[in-house]
């Protein structure tokens, strides 16, 4: 298996083999972060630009650490402090970054499809760090990496994704990735937070939390994005916790060694109890550690890829 793509836009566009290649490459990169000198020269002389149109600490820092451990130079652009405020379009910003002779743009944008559009207009690599409600491929890859590390496989696993599915790019990327690797995915949320068409992606839908927990090998708890969309109906916080919050009590009925994941940041007491977030089944901080290895693998692979064809990326 050889990586050829110049971009990582979403897991929808990758084959099972490409996803597996990223995961095995990430396994190799994980070792680098355990050394005294946490750096390899693979991207020496390359420039990575983090172009973030949405607030993000975890993902941006993770990409920055990953790029620096590969010896790349990193430039961070946040939209609040850039010419975006003067009305510059995404494409203009992208072509200007290309004119600076940068090599990789890591882009986070509130519009679905932003990364795809950018990738069509620049010839340098584009890595999607989250676009609207569309995809967040590196988050799903690190979730899958962590799951595989914990349980030894993905094929045949039962994974339940719980929470705000409608507004979640993490959910979409996870569904694409997990189903391609042969896992069975269930999504669980109040009916108003289930988007239409989610079954066509290969997920089973339920609004019964007990059903989502029983016989699940792992759960991925999504953050309730109360800040995201004031116009759509959202359940009241306490009501959500009462009906869908993951508590010790609810976990008692689940598999004893169920893996509990959360992409962060956590709303303690809304999606899950504090004691669950910090409990023995939780791998939330391991996800953060693995995120570095996965993003190192992605940056390395796209820097080696030259394929500029974008079939099926609209």
């Amino acid at each position: 298996m050889i990586w050829t793509k110049k971009d990582l836009l979403g897991l929808e566009y990758l084959t099972k083999e490409e996803i597996e290649l990223i995961l095995t490459t990430a396994e190799s990169f994980k070792e680098v972060s355990t050394r005294d000198i946490k750096k390899v020269p693979a991207l020496r002389g390359k420039t990575v630009v983090n172009l973030f149109y949405e607030p993000s600490t975890r993902t941006r820092v993770s990409f920055e650490v990953a790029a620096k451990r590969l010896s790349a130079d990193v430039i961070n652009i946040a939209s609040e402090t850039s010419s975006v405020r003067k009305g510059e379009t995404l494409i203009d910003t992208g072509t200007n970054i290309e004119a600076l002779k940068a090599d990789i743009i890591v882009v986070r944008h509130n519009a679905s499809g932003a990364a795809n559009m950018l990738a069509r207009h620049v010839s340098i690599s584009v890595v999607n760090a989250g676009d609207g409600w569309h995809e967040h491929p590196t988050q799903a890859l690190l979730d899958i990496f962590t799951l595989k590390e914990k349980l030894g496989r993905i094929e045949g696993l039962k994974v339940s994704i719980i929470g705000d599915i409608a507004h979640s790019r993490v959910a979409r990327s996870n569904i694409w990735g997990l189903t391609k690797l042969g896992a069975q995915v269930k999504v669980c949320a109040p009916k108003i937070l289930i988007p239409p068409g989610i079954e066509q992606m290969g997920a089973v839908v339920t609004d019964d939390i007990e059903e989502a927990l029983e016989d699940a090998d792992a759960i991925n708890i999504l953050r309730m994005q109360f800040e995201r969309d004031a116009e759509t109906a959202f359940p009241e916080q306490l009501e959500y916790f009462k009906n869908f919050g993951i508590t010790q009590e609810r976990l008692k009925k689940a598999k004893k060694d169920i893996v509990v994941m959360h992409p962060g940041p956590i709303n303690r007491g809304i999606e899950m109890e504090s004691s669950v977030a910090d409990g023995l089944n939780s791998v939330i901080l391991e996800q953060v550690t693995n995120g570095i290895a996965v993003r190192m693998a992605v940056l390395f692979l796209v820097s080696q890829g030259h394929d500029k064809k974008y079939e099926n990326t609209d």
Partner: protein
């Protein structure tokens, strides 16, 4: 790819490794502070075999580490398709150790250059020596081996293939031509 000649077989590979094991022990006056580092992939198998040879002679094996040099290659930007990155596994401290770097074929010297760079990221060994099963010449960097299984003069259009039971199912060294 046409196979031109078989240069080493199972027995001669073993004899070469046994001789190199003796030479390593002679030069380092025993096994004190001595460790082997195999360069992925075939150098790693050869390092494990060398450790077994030394075990046979001295009754003590040596720690064996495995080094993947992909991330340290100087041609990453030149090659068309991305190479697969494998794990580096060095579970011991290399500071103040005498290391013997083990690889199958010494050719341009660029792999050794990359390996030296990689090792310096792990610490400061007391010394690094180089053992190879085959030296085929055509160096592009000032590199020389301390222990050589067999010197094989080659033309640049030829390839030396070291095949090992662990990966290839057979022990042999052959010379092929495009």
């Amino acid at each position: 790819m046409r196979e031109k000649a078989k240069l080493l077989d199972k027995e001669s590979i073993h004899r070469s490794l046994m001789r190199i094991a003796h030479e390593i022990l002679e030069k380092n006056k025993g096994t004190q502070d001595l460790c082997l580092i195999g360069v992925r992939s075939r150098g790693a198998y050869l390092a494990v075999r060398l450790s077994a040879c030394i075990q046979q002679i001295e009754n003590t094996g040596l720690p064996v580490g495995i080094l993947d040099i992909t991330l340290y290659r100087d041609d990453l930007t030149l090659i068309a398709a991305s190479p697969v990155v494998h794990k580096t596994e060095i579970s011991f401290d290399i500071n103040d150790k005498n290391l013997v770097l083990v690889d199958d074929v010494l050719y341009t010297g660029r792999t050794v250059r990359a390996a030296l760079d990689a090792l310096s990221d792990f610490g400061r060994p007391k010394s690094i020596q180089l053992a190879v099963l085959v030296d085929r010449g055509h160096r592009e960097l000032p590199v020389r081996a301390d222990y050589v299984g067999k010197n094989i003069p080659t033309a640049k259009n030829e390839t030396v293939e070291v095949r090992l039971e662990e990966v290839d199912g057979v022990d042999e060294v052959v010379i092929t031509e495009k």
